[in-house]
Symmetry: C2
Subunit: 497 residues, 2 copies
Amino acid sequence: MSDAMTDLKQRLAEISDLQRTLGVLRWDQQVMMPAQGAASRAEAAGTLAGIAHERFVDDETGQLLERAEAAAEGLDYDSDDASLLRLARRRWDKERRVPAELRAEWTREGGKTHVAWLEARERNDFAVFLPAFRRVHEVALRWAELMEPGDSPYDPFLDEYEPEMKTREVKAVFDVLRPELAALVREAGEPADDSFLEGDFPVETQTELLEGILRDFGFEDGTWRLDPTVHPFATWFGGGDIRMTTRYRADNLRALWSTMHEGGHGLSFRGIAPELRRSPLDGLPSFAVAESQSRTWENLVGRSLAFWRGRLPEVKRLFPALEHVDLDTWYRGINRVEPGLIRVEADEVTYSLHIILRFELEQELVAGTLDPADLPEAWGAKMHELLGVDVPDDVRGVLQDVHWTRAGYGYFPTYALGSVLGVQIWRGIEDDLPDLESQLEAGELGPLYETLRERLYRHGAKFLPMEALERAIGATEIDPQPYLDYLRGKVAGLQTA
Amino acid sequence: MSDAMTDLKQRLAEISDLQRTLGVLRWDQQVMMPAQGAASRAEAAGTLAGIAHERFVDDETGQLLERAEAAAEGLDYDSDDASLLRLARRRWDKERRVPAELRAEWTREGGKTHVAWLEARERNDFAVFLPAFRRVHEVALRWAELMEPGDSPYDPFLDEYEPEMKTREVKAVFDVLRPELAALVREAGEPADDSFLEGDFPVETQTELLEGILRDFGFEDGTWRLDPTVHPFATWFGGGDIRMTTRYRADNLRALWSTMHEGGHGLSFRGIAPELRRSPLDGLPSFAVAESQSRTWENLVGRSLAFWRGRLPEVKRLFPALEHVDLDTWYRGINRVEPGLIRVEADEVTYSLHIILRFELEQELVAGTLDPADLPEAWGAKMHELLGVDVPDDVRGVLQDVHWTRAGYGYFPTYALGSVLGVQIWRGIEDDLPDLESQLEAGELGPLYETLRERLYRHGAKFLPMEALERAIGATEIDPQPYLDYLRGKVAGLQTA
């Protein structure tokens, strides 16, 4: 290994340490910190983020990169070192384009817009949100002008979450989904009864159930935690410290699926090869790839008939109120399809329609063909068109998500792309797992995890999303058909079950 | 404010952010982290500590200091700015004397000695500890040679914990304590019965009791936490985020006092003036001053008759097994005096004798008049001389404390000095609190906290320990007499009670 490569790795390792530490600060803030610690925490996190950024974008890193690249010619494309250089180069070039002041302005305006959003939600009035939103929107547009131009003005935003993916590629997928999903919603017919998911479910018992499920997912003692929080998330600080969070509600069981979702994230963090730790490669290729795995463990495992055939008896033992719920009722209930107003409450079939709505509005916002003031009206029209529902107010409409408080365009589509990719990857590995059905039923999830680890997780962030897909299952582009087939099968199964 | 002062403060604020973040990493490690996270955590903490150190000792900080000092002439000695400059100058000069390699060597050898200590304890054999201890001891001696020489070779070690305090000053105090405490132990006579402290005490009920006590101490909602850990400690990340830890045992009630001890630390952190936050002044003058306050809340409040006159009914309500324990029995039991082998289990009267033993051995080690190999024998002889007990083995003798694994000489004396100072300060403020007795009984601890805050806590680390003492109560040196009077009174009271 060249000296420059050694030095570059050392530098990137220290920056990785700072990033992981920022992760600890954020986890602590969401899960443990007393409310009055917020001001000090913001100062500390700001300082750390500033140092990490400075160290990454400075000339010295650039020189190390150049020297390491020169010495690395001829390295195998798939090698860790070549992958590290590609990733570091891509990020360094991007970050160097953004002046510190613009970055600070975006953070500042985002903070103010977040405050305005909270107040607008309180008052259920988009007008309260609009002035601050307009400012952060303008900052985001100025930022985009500094980026490499794409075919679409939306490309730079998308690139933040899906490196080198183009708007047209996403659009191609969503254009297929749009009519098919709408048709499926109609086919699904009358929503199944899921009222058994509401009731009296003591939090300690839910914890016992969920920790058992996560152990079956493959998490080993002494390597993970599951803690309550307000907005569930998962994070990790090396392979031996994986933190999942959940939001228990004592009056319903819905934390089961959000926890399996975070468990899926946790497993993909866990599977990253040890050699990639303490480097920028200790991550995942993109947000959509990450989401594909959380959706896989939430839905393909956690809403499957086989999994619950094995697990429902335990649930009924833990919660005697469910005594009379049979497997069929359970399965239909947890897979209930019904168009609704709220994205985070949406079922598998309608979920992506909520995303397509946001993706289309974001493109118009960025292109300047939709003025921020006209968002509520556009939102209402599209909700009617896509999901056939009428939006009664802003809180249940345009104000429901936090993402736009920082004009974080490009994030939403990764949720639906993740759902699509999750099924595509699942179909691509099924041949390796002839006994998957019985393993799901037995709660033996080790083989599934091992296959995904070997095909996908272990590579960390070495590859672009489509490169990772190719290495996982041989495909080179996102194919919405497996996802549609899966949903069609599910809808059909629900009706005949 | 001069530009140099502004720039220096900004620099020190960022270093303070890094130190607080290290504190979060440590808290998390002790309280939350899964065991397998240790390796990644060590890397992250090492990187952070390295950056904080580099930024502090670099030439730029030195130049800013010089320029700020030049511009600050004529500032009031007690002003925040003058105090900041004194503290930063003292630390910068000290830290500049130590090469990075020596610092790293000390950390590395300390780590190895810690491992050897764990194994030696496991095998109950000092010989297993000795080789590693000898190495870290040598590193510590080399470090001391780089420091400003004092009258005693022990001075540089002491200075790490008690800035500018001299070994002879500590010795003068301990020389008074030594015979008086030994006499008091004899006077105490037959140990009182404290067997009621053992039994069945559910952890949730202890938590309820302790959180109530901490609220009476004055902690406000949303500013603190109390969590279980193995080795209790307290820390803080600004004034609105105070973390106390405790070690509950379901089979005894002794966590009460260790938690009040940590609560005392927490209160002194809480009382630091808001203007001093995010600077090196956001601390306390010394380890002894810090310990004086934890001892105050643990002992002067938490083992007082008045406090329990008010609180015992609640304890009896929470733990029906204590129904027949009357106030007199309770008071005598929680103040039981009995010479023992273990420092951390020692009562108020014998505690300082454990410290004097260590202080005397440390001085001999540092002077070279005691070879590390001879420690167990010297330990046994002194235990017999000071406490009249025979040491049966190394685990209950020389291997009981962790401090020497990093040759952390100078730390132990601060525990006893803290006990002494705590009583001295208490006596010095009593006149301000004519109703203290009835306030203790009523659990109205606000006035006591407010007085200590005003006299001591609010100054943070602005002053040297004796300067802080002078501002708190007008005294300029440590006086062991109030402490001895207090203990004499307690021993007499126990016998006549």
